[in-house]
């Protein structure tokens, strides 16, 4: 069963996403901690197939955080590294979206 890691500092929102994804028969692990130094997060990054990151909080340096997450998720095994999806409830500038695209990260707006 595919494993999805949800990184979201908004607990209610994170729970809502996790519930929706579990309904699709996916294994979901939610994480509020953004420190990539965390060994638990590192282990989860190594084990999951998809990473969903809520980038709605504009005060966070998301591009730098995502670069670190991508580096931490890089693997040298028989399995491909996880694919990333960013979600936002607030409008982000096009440059931000272009940077995400260059990193291979997909981006969606919640309506």
């Amino acid at each position: 069963m595919p494993r999805v890691l949800v990184i979201d500092n908004d607990q209610a929102h994170s729970t809502e996403i996790a519930d929706r994804l579990r309904a699709l028969h996916l294994t979901v692990v939610a994480f509020r901690e953004l420190s990539t130094g965390s060994s638990i997060l590192h282990d989860e990054l190594s084990a999951c197939d998809i990473v969903v990151v809520n980038v709605s909080d504009a005060s966070q340096p998301w591009l730098a955080i995502l670069r670190r997450l991508l580096e931490a998720s890089a693997r040298h095994s028989s399995q491909p590294a996880p694919l990333f999806l960013c979600t936002s409830r607030i409008k982000r500038d096009p440059q931000f979206q272009l940077e995400l695209e260059r990193m291979g990260v997909r981006f969606v707006y919640e309506r």
Binding site: L24, P80, A81
Partner: protein, 176 residues
Amino acid sequence: MRDSLDPVVDGVDLLLAEMRGLKSQGPQLRIVHRFREPGMVCAPGEEIAIVYLVYRSKFYPLRLSLALRMLIDYLAKHSHFPQSASQIEAGMRADPFYVKHGTNAMLPTGLKRRISRSAVKEYVKRLRLALELAFRDVGLNLDPRQVIVSEPTVMNEVGYRLKASVEWFHCSTQTI
């Protein structure tokens, strides 16, 4: 009825489809042959002009020399079983496509390379490096050793196999 989280669920669905494709078929490559003669496809005399990584509908050229383009084309055409360096050399020497590579271009110096058994291991390393650079450019977090796969035998011989979804594109003229 759709709600505000539907784009997230749809996005995850899309990534799952992408992930399954990468796991089962590997990345998508497009190999371009030019100097095709009318009515011919993959015929001797054509040139392997360029190899692209195709990712999310965009084309990224792999930085490959002539010998590496020939090797990846050969591995792509024989991806159903792993081949040792000796088998690769023998296969390429026996195939008129590689023996007469690029002769339709009518160049006095030719566009040929002979791939020797001893060079294959080094060429495989360089192919992986070119793939790694392309993966980095596109943001695809994939290990090139999962694409140019080394498969050990019960002896010390290693077989090489390309795990990728490959399509060939042909140009009749010199243009790409």
